[in-house]
Subunit: 221 residues, 2 copies
DNA sequence: CATCAATGTTGACACCGACAACATGCGATG
DNA sequence: CATCGCATGTTGTCGGTGTCAACATTGATG
């Protein structure tokens, strides 16, 4: 420790100008980012609180000033994921006007989110939580992914484009399909199929259409 | 298998009689069983090679005589799961004669397997493997779950009960649906829905039917 | 400028995965 | 039946990890 009395920002800054400060500035977010990057690069088994702290440039106990334990950090990652997923669904649905087109967009966005952000998706739905995860904080006016799916399906029902009756079974079918497709992608169970993003998008497009054929009302259109 | 030799048959009382023996008899399977029980009781985070050894009544290094490392033990659990899943699918399909009924049975069995054996299902499809998992040893003449699904769908296509054309997209749709439903169940994402086995069975029944409505050929029947 | 609460550090403890060296006893061989 | 090799289980150890307590530093508040 060279210049003890000084700011030491200039002394041992390993990279950006932010480094080397004793108070990190936004260590909490830095830890979340480091955790995501670590999972993406080294896999889940390499996710270590100490390595996360190392990557954030702090010592091994610093994370405990922001998270009660390792699981709390994972919870923050999951919350970030749920918010991002809902956002990406809204964005992809926004240009669409037809109820069915909006449903397709929602399903495609769900699968694409998983393919584009495997670490988030795994943490969100993986078996890594002992205590039940708290629901993610939703900024007011923003719907969660599930709520969005329900309302989209009910809108399509109201337009006569999907089967009538309870929306719940239809919602579960749609959710199961995109969740299963996303899971199979992320867990690399689709070995022979191409793994690229564009391939996933094409697959999601085909599958959502194929699904809706079953959700259609009996009367043929 | 029966004429495997004398082995340990004399003192193989599984209860307490065999405690204190220096050679366990079938420690390998005992470790697999202990791992499954541990995951079921304490969750995934509690899965420790040392605790597994403790439950099997051996010391902390004994497992290394049967598994190269922790991941190898998990691989054994996964293999057991894949074999059991295929078996349960075959059993549920056996009484069915109609191609569609066989497809329904396959899907229901897939979901039920996950609900009845969450630890196996999680290990099979979870993010816990760094190296690619070897394919499970399939006893000769027995098809794996995926192969079974493909042939069932192709049979239904041949009978004119499903859309014509490539079987692969249809297979992926069916697989995604049941896998998604199973995953949502196992990961407790269906909070409001009842969690019992009979509820899962009813749900799987409805969902597979709902799916097939979409897989049906355009001509109405 | 003095103080304080928030934030980061140091040190410690129990536990874990993995390996090496050693001990035991099953079962093949004579 | 006696011997002995080797698979199997044990003991001891090492580096790494999650978590906590005590201490140090800093930015903000008066």
């Amino acid at each position: 420790m060279a210049t003890r009395g000084k700011r030491k920002q200039a002394a041992e800054a390993p990279a950006e100008k932010d480094r080397g400060r004793y108070h990190h500035g936004d260590l909490r977010q830095a830890l979340v980012d480091a955790a995501v990057a670590l999972i993406a690069e080294e896999g889940f088994g390499a996710l270590t609180l100490r390595e996360v702290a190392r990557r954030a440039g702090v010592t091994h106990a610093a994370p405990y000033r922001h998270f009660a334990d390792k699981e709390a950090l994972l919870e923050a990652v999951a919350h970030e994921g749920f918010r991002a997923m809902a956002r990406e669904m809204r964005e992809r649905m926004a240009p669409m006007t037809g109820p069915l087109e909006r449903l397709y967009a929602a399903g495609e966005a769900y699968v694409l989110f998983a393919v584009l952000h495997p670490p988030h998706f795994r943490v969100m739905f993986g078996p890594h939580f002992t205590r039940p995860m708290s629901s993610p904080p939703e900024p007011e006016g923003e719907q969660g992914a599930f709520t969005l799916l329900v309302s989209t399906i009910e809108a399509a029902q109201a337009a006569g484009l999907l089967r009538e009756g309870e929306s719940r079974p239809l919602t579960l079918t749609a959710w199961s399909l995109v969740h299963g497709l996303a899971s199979l992608f992320v867990d690399r169970q689709l070995g022979e199929s191409p793994q690229g993003v564009e391939a996933a998008e094409a697959l999601a497009r085909v599958q959502t259409r194929l699904l809706v054929e079953g959700l259609r009302p009996p009367a043929r259109g």
